[in-house]
Symmetry: none
Subunit: 124 residues, 4 copies
DNA sequence: GTGGTCTAGACCACA
DNA sequence: GTGGTCTAGACCACT
């Protein structure tokens, strides 16, 4: 994984893992790799990996069993809820940003429409 | 203006000015306040104000006439172009983020639709 | 039994057993279950169960008859003493903590009074 | 300041600072020493000091002004609320611990009474 | 083997 | 000067 320079690495990794979980690629209750293993995979320092796990636990995405490892939250509902919130947050930011640029609601919808017209073929 | 804590103040101010320009509140060729004045208006450190002007000039949003002041880029076309680019960049990021969360194209469109259904009345 | 995450499991189990003894549910001289049995009952790792027994013996709460099993200290006096000490230790910590938060002696007493007023009905 | 061995240093420092704030020794809006200064004062590594500030901010006790420093939450009410919560949490834990040791409500109250009888003179 | 904490030292962006 | 992030390496308690 390649990192952008202006965003903290740990946030970028969290975003990556989070999207893997929320998209269903990783399942509720799954064990995540150990923090050391994680550090190797992403090519970061173990401390950074540890920070990543702390932050995800704080966000309620994962939990820790002492001496055993880190696991994805077991509740399907919580994850679905989390995903919904995440999506809505992105939408709110998107709309608010466009509104600040002077676009009306209908213009925003047509921008989205336009975008998909141009990129439809690229969609999997 | 109130600032978010986790984003550099100078970027927040730039974003604000940019949206004022792109939304038409400030017009091409308009003179911007002096950097001192700017510092007072936004309640920021003079160094920060100076940084704001440097950065905006670097981005081609403004230009400086020595001894006279700073002005918004005159070309209407440039601004229109800038706005289009800006909008498209935001759309790309929005779609890419949602896709990473596992949403298909149609789900994204329905999310937008849904959002406007719920917030229509709040639209100015 | 459910375990808190930030406190070692073995300490949580010890605390549980200790309170069972001091509250009179388990009597002096009683034989405790084997460490394997203990592991099953509390749903912990056998190593953890073993550690629990070691630690309790170190604290003088239990003693071992080789090949027979582990027993709760027989002396009634010792237990009474233990309980008194335990209670006093908790009180000291409680008062000291509240004092550090700026509460005077009388305020501490009124806090306790207040607490019981609000929770009286919930008392078993 | 001397640290206990079995409790993370950063938690001990937080508790210390927190009690200074909640007891009124440090006032709302006050600037706290820089994290480097803090590190020196408590004899800990700058990273540990940084962690302390992060955690306190997360708890809503302090906030950060970028490039300027860390400050105690300005709202008197929030702090009062926080103090109340803290006190109640301690009381709940105290009562719950004693109850587990087999003490009834009245015994708990008499323990407190007894404690103050013995230590009254030591009270400032 | 697992996460948690700590020290040491460094670089950076921000004000 | 201020906090934020990162690397490196170490020790520890828990399971």
């Amino acid at each position: 994984m390649e990192f952008q320079n202006n965003i903290p690495i740990y946030l970028q990794v969290i975003k990556d893992i989070k999207s893997r979980i929320l998209s269903g690629e990783i399942h509720p209750g799954d064990k995540l790799p150990s923090s050391r293993e994680m550090a190797v995979r992403y090519g970061v320092n173990p401390n950074t990996a540890s920070r990543i796990y702390n932050e995800m636990e704080r966000q309620g995405i994962t939990f820790t069993k002492r001496g055993i490892g880190t696991f994805v939250t077991e509740s399907d509902e919580d994850l679905a809820e989390l995903r919904k919130t995440e999506v809505r947050k992105l939408t709110e930011k998107y709309v608010s940003d466009l509104t600040k640029l002077g676009l009306k609601g209908c213009e925003i919808r047509s921008e989205i429409k336009q975008y998909f017209l141009e990129n439809e073929c690229g969609e999997k």
